[in-house]
């Protein structure tokens, strides 16, 4: 028997709340998504005034991070270096847009968190959410 670790709903809720609270009034409204170790959605929230496209991108960023085991920005840089694009993976849910982070516990991938809508601060906001989740785990 093997045991796979994955984040749970309570952890996802802490991460989402911390992400929303990290947003400054000067940031455009955002959408946040948290997925489990398999990239399956656990929790997503869209602030008032956020386009529906942002919640889709937040989910894709979270999914990509968990599934590939890479932050989406790092993945983007890696693919640039390798001379590839995300299209090579033939996975329509995958993206290299910055703002998706891997959630790890003791080095093991337990999920992913994605933020979309802020413009340039998606990854920074995602980091705030992830740190709040990890510090309470």
């Amino acid at each position: 028997m093997i045991r796979e670790r994955s984040l749970d709903f309570e952890m996802a809720e802490r991460a989402v709340e911390a992400t929303l609270q990290a947003r400054q009034p000067t940031d455009p409204p955002i959408a946040v998504a948290v997925v489990d170790a398999h990239g399956e959605l656990v929790l997503t929230a869209r602030m008032d005034g956020t386009s529906p496209i942002e919640i889709r991108q937040a989910m894709r960023k979270a999914y990509t991070s968990a599934h590939m085991g890479r932050d989406t920005k790092a993945l983007h840089e890696q693919l640039l270096g390798d001379g590839r694009t995300i299209g090579d993976w033939a996975d329509p849910a995958a993206t290299t847009l910055a703002g998706g982070l891997v959630a790890r516990v003791h080095g093991e991938v337990v999920g992913g968190l994605g933020v979309s809508g802020s413009g340039v601060r998606d990854e920074e906001l995602a980091r705030s959410g992830l740190e709040a989740m990890e510090s309470s785990t």
């Binding site: 709903f9 996802a12 398999h38 959605l41 997503t44 929230a45 869209r46 602030m47 008032d48 919640i55």
Partner: protein, 148 residues
């Protein structure tokens, strides 16, 4: 210009906390809940620990269907879909479902969103979604309207 009223994040959270409290109080199975705006787009969606991954997509489909059709999914199933020769394919929309548990939110008769629940019996799913709608203090329709 037309302004469409729609459920916001605070509405969604209020409905969800009511639903989660009911699930905890009654000892229901872990559930997934989705709240969408007037256009059927997600505002908030969650899957409780122990709820299967597929459930969140189903909750979303239920909420989406209720919002875009302006019908509870149970009513869609019993009154519309069960007419002779009708199938879901007639709608040509892969997100439309007839699984009960999607309940439309109306404010003064206008569709402002919907809630979808999955994880328990379809009767309980619908009851939970209705509890969430009940937490929103929506105003009933006081005008007389002809059905479209």
């Amino acid at each position: 210009m037309h302004n469409y009223p729609s459920l916001g994040l605070s509405d969604a959270k209020q409905a969800v906390s009511t639903i989660l409290a009911a699930i905890a109080a009654e000892g229901d199975r872990p559930a997934a809940v989705a709240v969408v705006g007037h256009d059927g787009e997600l505002v908030y969606a969650l899957r409780q620990t122990g709820a299967a991954a597929r459930l969140i997509g189903r909750a979303r489909a239920k909420a989406y269907t209720a919002a875009v059709l302006g019908l509870d999914t149970s009513v869609f199933r019993s009154d519309v879909l069960h007419r002779p020769g009708r199938t879901l394919d007639d709608w040509g929309d892969p997100l439309i479902t007839s699984l009960p548990g999607g309940v439309v939110a109306r404010d003064e008769g206008v569709v402002v969103g919907a809630i979808g629940c999955t994880g328990n019996s379809i009767e309980r799913d619908e009851a939970l979604a209705r509890l969430g709608i009940g937490a929103l203090q929506l105003r009933s329709d006081t005008t007389t309207r002809r059905m479209p």
